[in-house]
Symmetry: C2
Subunit: 338 residues, 2 copies
């Protein structure tokens, strides 16, 4: 039995997810239907006839879909769609950081009531599995702080100001020409993108809800080549750092351009690389680094979430291991966790 999957949103990430679902030999996931946007894209030629194409989201609420994957982004209509999907008994996987930051709690609660799964690994740090590493792998610790580079666009712009000695405006224009920054760069440059991801991390790491509007944001637009020279004299460089600390009565969080030591993990992050350092009472500092954006890394997160849904919702009990049959050249397949 396979999870029958409906995908809404067919941009870079949506297409990567579809290709990966079509490629994977794993029998637990099957791409059944794609919903492209009404105003847009034609059905691409590479999509096999076995996959349905629609521009009507309601087609993903049909009884033959088990999981809805939302890759459109933005609060609306995604929020209404995912409500309706959960109420229709679907599980939901999303990479939508704004939606999870603002309404993750309500969607998690609804999913729990519906006994469905709601997952969002792709919403933070792309392919770096920081959501489950923190929520599950560090669940045994009491986490005290998070520090991270969560926005690759700012990384690119800052490293151009640093290395080429050009002003912010020129570095931004370059990033836009190369497709690393949007026409409206506000979300990246002013920290709103990173703060949505930080709010999600706060919920997971500290178990408290931090409203995005309560997270102070500083823009990188005022950073100059001279700032880098001064930073360098102190053995530092400048990065857009998102940080949150547990305090006695809650959490203090902010996103802003920050001095970081040249020999530390943050200074070395380049391009779309994300870095998340988590500090725990018992475990000390644990650092996760990897590709924080892009179609393929985010598709890894989405697929991993789908396999997690499969583990939870496909009720197959693994057969006893047939050790003899599985051996080949001294290697035998190891059963994955049931």
């Amino acid at each position: 039995m396979a999870l029958r999957i409906g995908v809404v949103g067919f941009g870079t990430v949506g297409q990567s997810v579809a290709r990966r679902l079509l490629d994977t030999p794993d029998p637990r996931v099957r791409l059944l239907r794609v919903c492209g946007r009404a105003n847009g894209r034609e059905r691409p030629a590479w999509l096999p006839r076995s996959v349905g194409w629609t521009t009507d989201f309601d087609a993903l609420l049909a009884p033959d879909i088990d999981v809805v994957v939302e890759l459109v982004g933005g609060i609306q209509p995604a929020r209404s769609w995912l409500h309706r999907a959960l109420i229709a008994g679907k599980s939901v996987v999303t990479a939508n950081k704004q939606l999870v930051a603002e309404h993750g709690q309500e969607l998690l609660a609804l999913a729990a009531r519906q006994q469905r799964t709601f997952r969002f690994e792709g919403a933070v740090a792309g392919g770096v599995p920081v959501v489950r590493a923190v929520e599950d792998g560090l669940a045994g610790d009491r986490l005290l702080g998070i520090t991270g580079i969560l926005n690759g666009t700012c990384n690119y712009i800052l490293s151009r100001i640093e290395r080429a000695g050009i002003p912010f405006d020129e570095a931004l224009r370059e990033a836009q020409e190369l497709g690393y920054a949007e026409a409206d760069p506000t979300a990246d440059v002013d920290g709103f993108d990173a703060r949505a991801k930080l709010a999600i991390l706060c919920a997971i790491a500290f178990g408290v809800r931090v409203r995005t509007s309560d997270i102070e944001c500083g823009s990188i637009a005022s950073v100059t080549p001279d700032d880098f020279l001064r930073a360098g004299r102190h053995g530092c460089t400048i990065r857009q750092i998102a940080s949150a600390e547990r305090t006695e009565d809650g959490v203090v969080a902010c996103v802003k351009p920050t001095l970081v030591p040249l020999d530390g993990p943050f200074a070395r992050a380049s391009g779309a690389q994300n870095v998340v350092a988590v500090r725990g009472e018992l475990g000390g500092e644990t650092v996760f680094t990897g590709q924080g954006a892009g179609g393929n890394p985010t598709a890894v997160a989405v697929l991993s979430d789908l396999f997690a849904v499969a583990r939870r919702e496909l009720s197959s009990v693994p057969a006893p291991a047939a050790a003899g049959a599985a051996r080949k050249r001294g290697l035998a397949l190891v059963p994955k966790y049931a």
Copy 2:
């Protein structure tokens, strides 16, 4: 309802786990009984009377125990104990790398047949949640390679040879005096410790079983101060590196002293720090760094496993979120994944 926990093994890790279980406010886990070794330790005074003390493992097979936590290490008697625990209907959490490397497959299969859980996050890289990050968080990728520093003792010895310019024997003696190396240092120095962890990572990342005896090991005992001088001339240093690559017909894996670039993540690992870099077809390189040994970091891994067992086996369905009641100073509790 709580998971009732029996711990066997009361060394550094066992004591950290017990303290953390007694400290945690989480109602899902309850330390019920500890099995110290027959030839050894008295019941410690800090253990409250509510926790039973025994030197007979069979006391952990009683019907009032739900999960057995094994922290003794070594193949026997741990293997028989955990077989008996699974057959008695317990779930099992262990940090025993040799046992999981050699017999993880058989124990996982038995756990699946018994519909119980078998987890071993603490067996690899201590507090760094690399088992679940790889197995669960990168499940959506096809992993191609693993490179890691999995043994902190070797790290310490190599960095002493490098910085103090002393020969291996002297650095080893220092490490032994400081308690970083065992009286018999073979397992660490000759790579057997790291290769057991690498075998576990291969099973998780590639889904293939690699016998530890098939993993080539090179000792760090032959590394000299001169080797570091030569390495430095090429912008490198020397670390004990465990690596595995997926090949057409299986996996090639080895553990040996290796040149690593000074500006990369491996050169910077110090003391008990572990580093695991995983390379995926879609996600590129993802790096995990943190405390790879010690009582407290390993206790984080064990506790995290226990919470995973609780999520799976305690059948409580979360109540609808009482948003109003949970709010405090603008913060509201976020429900964890059900």
